[in-house]
Amino acid sequence: MKTAANPSTPETGIAAGKYLHMYRRMQMIRLFEEQVNDLYTRALMPGLAHLYVGEEAVAVGICEALRQDDYITSTHRGHGHCVAKGAAPDRMFAELLGKKAGYCKGKGGSMHIADPQTGNLGANAIVAGSTGIATGAAFSAKHLKTGQVAVCFFGEGALGQGVLYEVMNLAALWKLPVIYVCENNLYCEYTHFSETTAGDILARGMAFGVHAESVDGQDVRAVYDVASRLVARARNGEGPALLLCNTYRYTGHHVGDISREYYRSKQEEQEWKTGRDPILVLGNWLVSQKLADEAALKSVESEVRAEMLSAVEFAVAAPYPSPEEAE
């Protein structure tokens, strides 16, 4: 890729390499999901999957602010978090196909990828189901004095689950190094969040003594900046935070959710896709800052696509576990 050798960007002093890395990571997520959808369409993937397309800047902006041994917990829409935290696409695809080479030996599938090596405590198919786990990981970090931070990703639908407030209260009382990242993509399944959420999201954190901020979830640099601050704060013993990331899922609730007009308009989808696409936004910025040119960005895309294709190939060819392994 043609870029200046790790120059500091004028605005933030962060190495440009970091932003290029983020660009690549976002492309990885997008193109990973492209393959997932393809596998579904070709009837090669058992069950369903919830794509993260459109929300890439959230996972990447946050995870880039983390150490490898920091913890994350993830959701049913978890591929993006896994990739951003450093999981290998080939073993992720293998898991999605139920193959033995998968992260969970095929036992987990799309909604349960977990990986101790990258601090991934696991995706979770219960909405808000991992909020306790993330808070517990922060509890360990504090008690064992490891300096680790835990990030709990959840969709805004999880705001409906009482356990979230129970653990925010605990985290605030005990000053735990945990960051609750609310990915508000405007919908829980087929219902707009305004129909299910009274009051104010940030106020919900603050009412429980949790520091709260919001950020444009389509701007990876903004996400990264605020995440870096909140992570430093948590690591510093200053307690938990709630970060509201405003974002949008481009496609259906899951791969089978094709006809969406009854709950949202094509125009709304179009506006998010064209005006605020996180990959375009960062790409344009990289170009405008002369940190990369269009050709370089294109070549990232094609490199990543090739990587994904070979990862898929690996997964498709990989053997299933044998039935005795069920026990």
């Binding site: 058992p46 069950g47 369903l48 139920g98 193959k99 969970c104 030996k105 095929g106 036992k107 987990g108 599938g109 799309s110 909604m111 349960h112 979770n124 198919a125 219960i126 909405v127 808000a128 189901g129 639908g157 999880a158 705001l159 409906g160 689950q161 009482g162 829980c188 399944e189 087929y190 219902t191 129909e195 299910t196 959420t197 009854y262 709950y263 299933y320 576990p321 044998s322 039935p323 392994e325 069920a326 026990e327």
Partner: protein, 330 residues
């Protein structure tokens, strides 16, 4: 019953028709749940209801299973007849306090003063490649709890008749639908009917062995019965239809007649429904039994995602056939 005009409906249509009829009959019946209105649930079971009954009676909720189940309990105590929709049976975990410590106990604990005419509809069943948190069949838990009735329909006909009875019941009923069965078709009379609780249905008559099967396992048992027939074994299939109240008499009488019994249920095999039903049969038919009652349930592991793994965790026509044949000493 079979004299009146009959159509073929899917299981989902039968459920929907029961709800629609009861909602027309009684304006206090309403539906509470996630994505129940315009979306008609992810399984599309409720499609069309909001169009007829409006968002005042078909009510989308936040993802707050404990909260809206609790609202259902309170609403039921005070004049409504709510039907609470819990999308996946796995999410019952979140409603256990409302269901068990509240709904199930209010009537008894208040000395009969308050009633809770609430129905909680939910799903069970694996093999949908949905992994450990979206595949469980947790009806044994609720069957264990005094104050709850537990319904497990296995056909469109039963689903409709039992759901109408559930809605008319003055105390809480948990209604389990096999999510893999929604598209299965079966005959449903045009005329109105209800099916009482505690009455088992003999889904197939036979003489050599009694297969007691619940919900999803009834079709599996019927399939196995065909294989057994070919092997010269005549299987009688009993569907209890409600695990509580339980029609002990029909189970016991069948086992007395055939002298061999096997119980098949999709819940985890240990400490589940099969233990109770097998014990009831042993208690009632011991001296007529030629062999111990056999049980088949889900393997004692969290349900795995990978198809070749998942497929071996639940009873199938083949494993039921083999189990029954060996129980008959063949």
């Amino acid at each position: 019953m079979r004299e009146v005009p009959v159509r073929e409906l899917t299981f989902a249509q039968a459920v929907r028709e029961a709800l629609a009829e009861e909602m027309r009959r009684d304006s206090r019946v309403c539906i509470l749940g996630e994505d129940v209105a315009e979306a008609g649930t992810p399984f599309k079971v409720l499609s069309g209801l909001v169009e007829e009954f409006g968002t005042d009676r078909v009510i989308d909720t936040p993802i707050s299973e404990a909260g809206f189940t609790g609202v259902g309990v309170g609403a039921a105590m005070t004049g409504m007849r709510p039907v609470v929709d819990i999308m996946f049976g796995d999410f019952l975990t979140l409603t256990m306090d409302q269901l068990v410590n509240q709904a199930a106990k209010v009537h008894y604990m208040s000395g009969g003063k308050w009633k809770v005419p609430m129905v909680l509809r939910t799903t069970l069943g694996a093999t949908r490649r949905s992994a450990a948190q979206h595949s469980q069949s947790l009806h044994a838990w609720l069957s264990h709890v005094p104050g709850l009735k537990v319904v497990m329909p296995s056909t469109p006909y039963d689903a409709k008749g039992l759901l109408k009875s559930a809605i008319r019941d003055d105390n809480p009923v948990v209604f389990f639908e096999d999510k893999m069965m929604y598209k299965q078709k079966g005959p449903v009379p045009v005329e109105e009917y209800t099916i009482p609780f505690g009455v088992a249905d003999i889904k197939r008559e036979g003489t050599d062995i009694t297969l007691v099967a619940t919900s999803s396992m009834v079709q599996v048992a019927l399939g196995a019965a065909v294989l057994l027939e070919e092997a010269g074994i005549s299987a009688e299939i009993i569907d209890p239809r409600t695990t509580w109240p339980l029609d002990e008499k029909t189970l016991v009488n069948s086992a007395k007649k055939t002298s061999r019994a096997m119980v098949i249920d999709e819940g985890y095999g240990r400490y589940g429904v099969t233990g109770e039903i097998a014990s009831v049969i042993v208690e009632g038919a011991f001296y007529n039994l030629e062999a111990p009652v056999k049980r088949m349930g889900a393997m004692h592991v969290p349900i795995p995602f990978s198809p070749p793994l998942e497929d071996v965790t639940v009873p199938t026509e083949q494993t039921v056939f083999e189990g029954a044949r060996s129980l008959c000493g063949k």
